[in-house]
């Protein structure tokens, strides 16, 4: 069919690979809106993907950059995006290294690396897509699944407490920590722009719908979750004890520090080592 309307998204060809469009994420999945928001932030700040490297583990969220982004993308084994990004950044500090992966990948199998990266304040940005379950393998329990929620491995309801990841990573020492949901795209974009400005470990958690798995087990529709995100999110700046206790989603910026990043510390260490030897 002939059409005069250009249906190709302007990012395709510049930021997204034409060969892999349309992408294969499920209808209603939040992953490509996160991609869109990240690209918008990078486009505004840098105007290109030049010198950006995107690293991801295994899972649906890990497919956001790989193969969609027209940039260097490193798709590693399950759970290990952060150590790969650490090696890349330290070996070539000129690169902007961004990790994008799922909650299972980064907080379960890769949890150890996440906490240590925050403690080290290694100079990478990590975007964790929290869809409350393991999407790719069929919707199993994740360390972020809410209590009582049903998944295919908690068919009678989840009896484990989920991690409060943004809080945990803020405590662990990251320079910048924020949490938003998929309905907060403008706030997310601002957070990403902020993160791009500073050094050290920067962590952004995005709550996002898994329509095919989590929503099917727990809700009537995608809208039910989006409405929940809209109506139950409270910014950390104004959140009361009651909000926290009653299980509201606390969003906003959990940490913003100016601790010196790992790389600058390492450069100082080189100077110290050389002066001791000479």
């Amino acid at each position: 069919m002939e059409s005069n309307v250009n249906l190709i998204h302007p990012y395709v060809g510049k930021y997204l690979r034409k060969e892999v469009m349309p992408h294969g994420m499920c209808p209603g999945c939040g992953n490509m809106s996160i991609a869109n928001t990240l690209i918008r932030a990078i486009d505004k700040k840098y105007g290109s993907f030049d010198k950006f490297v995107f690293v991801s583990g295994i899972g649906c969220a890990a497919w956001i950059p790989s193969p969609h982004f027209l940039a260097d993308t490193v798709h590693v084994v399950h759970g290990r995006a952060i150590p790969a990004a650490t090696g890349i950044k330290l070996a070539n500090p000129e690169l902007n290294v961004i990790v994008i992966s799922g909650d299972g990948d980064l907080a379960a199998i890769g949890g150890n690396h996440l906490f240590h990266a925050a403690r080290r304040n290694i100079d990478i940005i990590t975007i964790l897509v929290n869809n409350f379950n393991y999407g790719m393998t069929g919707g199993q329990l994740a360390p972020t699944t809410p209590v009582n929620a049903r998944t295919i491995t908690t068919p009678y309801g989840n009896i484990e407490e989920p991690f409060n990841l943004a809080k945990l990573i803020a405590e662990a020492g990251a320079n910048y920590v924020a949490r938003w949901t998929i309905v907060h795209v403008l706030q997310l974009e601002k957070s990403l722009m902020r993160a791009l400005d500073i050094e050290g470990f920067r962590f952004i958690e995005v709550l996002s719908p898994c329509t095919t798995r989590f929503i099917r087990w727990n809700m009537k529709s995608l809208n039910e979750l989006l409405d929940y995100f809209k109506n139950n999110s409270v910014n950390i700046k104004v959140a009361s004890e009651d909000d926290i206790k009653s299980g509201k989603i606390i969003v906003g910026e959990f940490a913003e520090r100016d601790r010196i990043g790992y790389l600058r510390r390492y450069r100082k260490l080189i100077d110290r080592a050389l002066s001791l030897w000479r």
Partner: protein
């Protein structure tokens, strides 16, 4: 700072692990990530001391999984990168090594073998990881593993390991053991300028294939950050890095390339030495620290008028199987002494194709070498 400012050219008296560090520094290894474990820790301790001086990066990671993955990342970003470990850590690294095989990322992994399984005997020498080095990962694959037998070889073979890794875009395992790692010996440190470094082949254009090949031709290495928009993945992928996991042809082509690039080039990769009387009818095949004892046993036997010859694989994997078969052709006895309950002897049996019984002489538990007298005694007993 230059490496020769730290270790001037000439004779030094050093333990094997330290010699290995000098080899790595001379080979321009500029990234080390690791997690401490006996009997490999000296490698890490010294890397921590020296890498900052040569503008390299040293980082102690939270575990061996993070260590292997971060050296893979560093290699992708253009650095020559290494880690060192021992049995338990080597087990944890296997998934990462498999990834580096699949995505064709050059790295060097040192395993200073100790007695296992599990935590086993942390301070005792063993050769029990020989098969793990070959088959530790899931899936079809070939790998390069080399076994140094002296402090000097810890230095020389480490330089060689980095060159092999870059040339074939494959992980290279240095399979040392506690005895070789800790024995102190005279080491000749070469002049930095004399070291031959194999340069990584870089893509010439933006649209060349970056992975795979036909076994003979190995795609150029796409360093990150140079505008190649490289797609790196451990999933089955095309020559351009696109995941294509459902297509049998793509998988077959990729995996055949991964194994063929080692199999086809095995003559160039393989390294071994042969010692003793050519017409001897008693033969020994030994590697690593045990090779040293076997060589001594051979000389002792010769003094007693017993003719013995010795084959020493320097490259354990791919194994010099054809060469071992030729070596064994006219033998009456073939002895394989090893610090395990029989491992490489199985490969030797495969190589000599059951023409006669391979006699294995095994020792485990004490961390002690197989002494030359024991090998000589064994020769006399079976003869």
């Amino acid at each position: 700072m230059r490496v020769n400012e730290i270790y001037p050219p000439g004779k030094h008296f050093l333990m094997g692990n330290e010699a290995l560090v000098i080899g790595a520094l001379l080979a321009k290894c500029r990234f080390y990530a690791g997690y401490p474990i006996t009997p490999s820790s000296e490698i890490m301790n010294l890397m921590a001391r020296y890498l900052p001086l040569v503008n390299g990066v040293f980082i102690q990671m939270e575990d061996e999984i993070a260590s292997i993955i971060s050296i893979i990342g560093a290699s992708l970003a253009g650095a020559r990168a290494m880690t060192a470990t021992s049995g338990p850590g080597f087990s944890l690294m296997q998934e990462g090594i498999g990834y580096a095989i699949m995505a064709e990322i050059p790295i060097v992994v040192v395993d200073v073998m100790r007695a296992g399984p599990s935590t086993g005997q942390a301070t005792k020498a063993a050769q029990g990881d020989v098969m793990q080095a070959r088959w530790g990962r899931h899936g079809d694959q070939e790998i390069i593993a080399i076994a140094p037998a002296s402090a000097q070889e810890m230095l020389d073979l480490t330089i060689h390991a980095f060159n092999l890794a870059d040339k074939y875009r494959v992980p290279v395992i240095i399979l040392s053991d506690e005895i070789v790692g800790h024995a102190e010996e005279i080491v000749l440190v070469p002049n930095e300028e004399d070291i031959v470094i194999y340069p990584r082949k870089e893509p010439l254009t933006k649209d060349e294939p970056l992975f795979g090949g036909d076994g003979i031709n190995i795609a150029p290495f796409p360093t990150l950050g140079k505008g190649f928009n490289v797609l790196v993945t451990g999933s089955t992928h095309t020559e351009y890095g696109y995941r294509k996991t459902q297509d049998p042809e793509t998988h077959k082509r990729l995996v055949n390339h991964l194994v063929n690039k080692i199999r086809i080039n095995r003559d160039e990769i393989i390294n071994y030495s042969v010692h003793g009387d050519e017409d001897a009818r008693i033969g020994i095949i030994a590697y690593g620290s045990v090779y040293r004892s076997a060589l001594e046993a051979l000389n002792m036997a010769r003094n007693e008028g017993i003719k013995v010859k010795l084959f020493r694989p320097i490259t354990l994997w791919p194994s010099p199987d054809g060469e071992m078969r030729k070596f064994a052709e006219d033998l009456d006895f073939l002895i394989v002494p090893e610090l395990n309950t029989k491992m490489y002897a199985l490969e030797v049996e495969r190589a000599v194709r059951g023409n006669f019984e391979v006699l294995s002489l095994n020792k485990i538990g004490g961390g002690l070498p197989i002494y030359p007298e024991e090998i000589l005694g064994f020769i006399k007993k079976v003869r």
